[in-house]
Symmetry: C2
Subunit: 155 residues, 2 copies
Amino acid sequence: MHEKFMQEAIRMSIDNVRSGNGGPFAALVVKEGEVIARACNEVTTHNDPTAHAEVQAIRKACDALQHYQLEGCTIYTSCEPCPMCLGAIYWARPDQVFYANTKQDAARIGFDDSFIYQELELPHHLRKIPTQQLMREEALEAFKAWDALEDKIEY
Amino acid sequence: MHEKFMQEAIRMSIDNVRSGNGGPFAALVVKEGEVIARACNEVTTHNDPTAHAEVQAIRKACDALQHYQLEGCTIYTSCEPCPMCLGAIYWARPDQVFYANTKQDAARIGFDDSFIYQELELPHHLRKIPTQQLMREEALEAFKAWDALEDKIEY
């Protein structure tokens, strides 16, 4: 059964290249044996750098479920998730993930996944995108307000 | 000038808690001294686990620019980006990033950022969300198709 869903994701990833719609990536979200969301990479057609297959499939699946969590769901993605997509997966909290191509495979055809994984492990001052902290004391007010809030919806 | 923009992000993050709209996070994208996108965390109101402030601000800024890159832009975020948002930032490629609260501050009020950073460094079989590879050989067909494609839009 896992192979059947992955086969569909792979077929979509190939079709996405051939149709000129975007990069060679696709993902499905499956719940109780049913596909509840399908998506391909559409970064360039949507002018949206976050429109990776997994992010889009998660957004569609959560919309279908009307919930911000994917409990009981499995994600099938044609490639090992990049850090953005893996982060999205952790926030969505599906039960499990299957992937096919690796991040090294993606790097070999020009995608930055491996580079971004390396950057995440570096201290801020060594990263390629300069990153600096300022005004932490002022910003902590928001966290104190959250901490003190009753009836908040945690996620 | 950096303080002025960060002050606005911080104010929005506090307002987002007080209005019950979402978590204590906000972000701005600035280009040539002008704010081109503003966003708050709206995970629970949009039923979208990817609706973090930075992801939403990047999507809005790219929509405003009609491009999938944020060259020449600066991102001001009220909290150090989580792995999903940092990944999104790397894909969007702004010139620089300023943040206020840290991921440790976020962890202290119950947000998973630090946990996700730790998970990313673990091998798949030790992660909390089980992750397995299958059908790589079949999936490589999509990468070969991409590699062979002429006139493709790289991103």
